[in-house]
């Protein structure tokens, strides 16, 4: 057995997206010796795919904006299931985080007077999204990466070592967290390149691993999104909340198969694009829910007039909230009126002159031309819902990001509560910065207050190593890719955008079988950069997290935000008072109800009573 590589740090950050990098910077600024561990190359994190912008009530474009308005919008977006303290901190601190990013050097589009420009977005009352064209996420990651390079060069000047206080371990996978009794003691993992194992001893670990979309067949998420942090937290004894809430974006590419799931921006519809079924009908007019009837046009003529005269016309139903549009597309396809490749048609070619399309939607024109060989100025696009974001995650203390396990923290998409049952566009990048910073500070305070550092026992290490090597010990087992595809198909078909009791029960049965088969996966070759082995280990996480999603979704007998039950189609105020909490022990995944903490009264006072009546029970309002 080769000798184990060992490192000791004060704070370990797992994940190098926006939340992870911001957390690492904060921990290091608090004097902690900090390490960042990430599966990809440094700077390639999933955050780079965010296009729209960072939501922050700076009021640069409309000075009426304030944190209170942002807070209200966020709670409405999440259908009041949000952790209100997180929504409050987020709305209050997002402007500081954007300004800070600017002082780090981030590029932003500017207003005429040279301040950071802000754009409109769905669900935000005022223009609120700070942005750089359609590459805001890329700029955010690049800026944090540059900041880290500058901190490392400072350390070189001071200590003669670039990595004295902040070191990045890239292309590294963490397979298990290790504990000393009830406390976190570090993490165990391997270099993806060499396959060699490494033990990190650290009293505090911050999870910033992002989402779980790779458990679904059609997703806008990249390969890293295998729910690692969710699963690591569960196995270490922390709880997940809100796992039933998953955001499906209505318009992902469905054709060709090579690009299925890649996002088609909402701006296509905002600029006049319409949805049609195979009969050529603009079907969205058939799907306007009762509560929205007064706000949406019931005929094409009025809907079309809205684009030029918004004051005197109602908006077209293509611009209904994301969940409504996604459900409508799903129904049309199920009714046999879909496009040849199982989506519907999104057409802008008959709506705007070619020149105008190229001007307003350059990236979409480019994307379809390059990836699908479709000229959107001449042909309709084929689109369908795509798994986009998980609202659920590690249950954390809002102020510090601490989980229920001492020394374990979480920030960003892997944490739960902030977005309630549905996230607003633009609120994820701000979430990463606000709670990344808080988790970094929280972990640093925890470490500083410790009398004695935890120790890692040799037994723990032996066990972690054995678990990681298991796929090599077997012969005659299955190809992990086959299993992964079956998992994705099951989650997509049975726990997807529209859910039914019987289908979710079937999903759970299939998951049981997949779990059994996953016990005997076989991988070829050796440990050195072995993609089959990596997937076999990722599958363990995906299966565990998928079970949480299916079990929680089965229990919640209402429809709210990113959880739609065909058999329980309405929202139920009683359910708003309850969170579903997932835990795992030797008997597997259990899900329990837990009451929500009542919203603080001064925050409730920000809303009209009439609006609160839509969400809160009579008892809560009395």
């Amino acid at each position: 057995m080769p000798e184990l590589e060992r490192h000791s740090f004060d704070v370990l950050v797992i994940g190098a997206g926006g939340a992870g990098l911001r957390a690492a910077i904060e921990a290091r600024e608090h004097g902690m010796r900090t390490a960042v561990l990430c599966k990809s190359l440094f700077g390639k994190a999933h955050t780079v795919m965010a296009e729209g912008g960072i939501a922050a009530a700076m009021g640069n474009v409309n000075s009426s904006d304030s944190w209170q308005v942002h807070f209200r919008d966020t709670m409405r977006g999440g259908k009041f299931l949000n952790n209100w303290r997180m929504a409050e901190l987020h709305a209050q601190e997002a402007p500081q985080r954007v300004w800070e990013l600017e002082t780090y050097g981030a590029l932003f589009d500017r207003t005429k007077d040279g301040r950071i420009s802000q754009r409109n977005f769905g669900g935000h009352e005022y223009p609120r999204l700070a942005h750089v064209g359609d590459r805001t996420g890329l700029e955010l990651i690049r800026t944090l990466q540059q900041k880290i390079v500058s901190l490392q060069q400072e350390d070189f000047k001071e200590f003669g070592n670039y990595e004295e206080r902040l070191r990045v371990f890239q292309e590294f996978t963490v397979t298990d967290l290790v504990k000393d009794g009830d406390r976190i003691a570090g993490a165990f993992g391997y270099w993806r390149e060499s396959g060699r194992f490494v033990l990190f001893e650290a009293p505090a670990v911050i999870l910033a691993t992002g989402g779980i979309g790779k458990s679904f067949k059609v997703t806008s998420n990249s390969w890293e999104y295998t729910g690692d942090g969710h699963a690591l937290a569960l196995r270490a004894g922390a709880s997940l909340i809100n796992m039933e809430f998953i955001q499906f974006h209505p318009t992902g590419m469905v054709w060709p198969p090579s690009v299925k799931g890649i996002l088609v921006t909402e701006s296509v519809r905002g600029d006049g694009g319409v949805l049609r079924n195979s009969d050529g009908k603009r079907f969205m007019f058939d799907y306007i829910p009762e509560v929205f009837k007064d706000k949406y046009a019931d005929n094409e003529e009025e809907g079309d007039r809205w684009y030029t005269d918004q004051a005197n016309n109602r908006r077209p139903p293509e611009l209904l909230p994301r969940d409504e549009v996604a459900r409508a597309i799903n129904s049309e396809v199920k009714a046999g009126r879909g496009s040849p490749h199982g989506g519907v048609f999104l057409d802008v070619s008959t709506r705007l002159p070619a020149e105008e399309i190229r001007k307003r939607l350059p990236s979409m024109h480019h994307q379809f031309k390059e990836l699908a060989d479709v000229d959107i100025t001449a042909q309709p696009m084929e689109v369908g819902p795509t798994c986009h974001y998980v609202m659920g995650g590690v249950e954390v203390d809002p102020d510090t990001g601490s989980s229920s396990v001492a020394g374990l923290y979480a920030a960003g998409e892997v944490s739960g509560g902030m977005h309630g049952s549905n996230r607003l566009g633009g609120n994820s990048l701000s979430d990463l910065l606000v709670f990344g910073r808080r988790a970094g500070a929280g972990a640093a305070e925890y470490v500083r207050a410790l009398d004695q550092r935890p120790a890692v026992s040799e037994d723990t290490v032996t066990e972690a190593r054995a678990t990681a090597l298991k796929p090599f010990q077997q012969e005659g087992g299955e190809n992990p890719y086959t299993l992964h595809m079956e998992l994705q198909q099951s989650m997509n078909d049975l726990v997807g955008i529209i859910r039914r009791q019987a289908e979710m029960e079937e999903a759970l049965q299939r998951l049981e079988k997949l779990k059994e088969r996953a016990q005997s996966l076989t991988v070829e070759g050796h440990q050195q950069f072995n993609p089959g082995w990596h997937l076999a280990l990722d599958l363990r996480n995906m299966l565990l997290v998928s079970e949480c999603v299916a079990k929680a979704a089965l229990l919640r007998t209402e429809s709210r935000g990113g959880h739609t039950r065909d058999d329980h189609p309405s929202m139920d105020a009683e359910w708003r008072r309850k969170l579903l909490v997932c835990n795992v022990d030797e008997n597997g995944v259990s899900v329990e109800e837990k009451p929500q903490i009542p919203i603080r009264s001064d925050l409730l006072d920000l809303f009209d009573r009439a609006e609160l009546e839509k969400y809160l029970t009579a008892e809560e309002l009395s």
């Binding site: 300004w99 002082t103 050097g105 993609p531």
Partner: protein, 260 residues
């Protein structure tokens, strides 16, 4: 695809049905496994593919169904993260942005697509290269905002025109397509290479930055901008359409005239 795949020891399981309109193409990949190989070798795979497939899909097909050990990087899969730069038929491209139909032979000839790792960086395994020398050059040009004095409490003011000045070079995704297409970089690995200069340019021409002189000093070095022979390979290779050679020329001019 919900049917349970029949599997036997060592096999890759069942392959998916060949879609209508698929053609058989030969994918010839330059491979290297440091565990067994002294020298790189070529492996060829005949696989079914649609003209609408991207080269990345062909690589996935091989990895998932034919040879699970094939190693390459990829992440976002649509040209933003910059992980899957490789030499495709002799030119540097992102595998997620090249469509098969643009590589197909006309007539009845079977198409062969040649894929190699990007040049000028050590190969770790198959298409995976050691990116460290590339990032080392990136870090050497101080790729971060340099300012002196107190930090403002809100944002710095920057006019729309000042912000436009360096827009092009902020689009860089650090994929290394440009640097590893440069003949100078192939022969003289100590040259910073186009990507590092692009990232220096991004700050030298940023109106908020006060570190231009330090950076220009670095780039005036023997391994700096003067190595550039203006072959325009880098500009052709950039998947983001950055005018790389122009940016290098602007840095040269700033050095000559000591003016940004």
């Amino acid at each position: 695809m919900t049917a349970t795949a029949e599997t036997t020891a060592g096999s890759r399981g069942s392959q998916p049905p060949v879609p209508d309109g698929a053609v058989t193409v030969t994918v010839k990949i330059r491979r290297f496994n440091p565990e067994f190989d002294d020298e790189p070798r070529w492996d060829s795979f005949d696989i079914p593919a649609l003209p609408s497939d991207r080269v990345l899909n062909l690589l996935h097909y091989i990895k998932w169904y034919v040879d699970g050990t094939l190693t390459f990087r990829r992440s976002c899969a649509h040209g933003i993260c910059g992980s899957d730069a490789m030499r495709i038929n002799g030119v540097n491209r992102l595998a997620c942005k090249v469509l098969l139909k643009d590589l197909l032979q006309t007539g009845d000839k079977q198409t062969t697509i040649t894929i190699e790792p990007i040049k000028g960086l050590p190969v770790n395994k198959d298409l995976l290269v050691d990116m460290e020398p590339f990032f080392e050059a990136f870090r050497a040009v101080k790729p971060y905002l340099v300012t002196y004095g107190n930090e403002p409490t809100r944002e710095r003011i920057q006019s729309v025109a000042d912000r436009e000045r360096f827009d092009d070079t902020t689009k860089c995704i650090l994929c290394a397509c440009c640097t590893t297409s440069c003949p100078v970089y192939w022969t003289e690995g100590s040259y910073f290479g186009p990507a590092a200069i692009v990232n220096a340019h991004r700050f030298i021409f940023d109106s908020r930055d006060e570190g231009a002189e330090e950076r220009l000093d670095i780039l005036n070095d023997i391994d700096g901008v003067w190595r550039c022979r203006t072959t325009f390979n880098c500009t052709d290779a950039c998947p983001r359409g950055i005018q790389v050679t122009k940016a290098i020329q602007e840095v040269k001019r700033a050095l000559l005239f000591k003016r940004v």
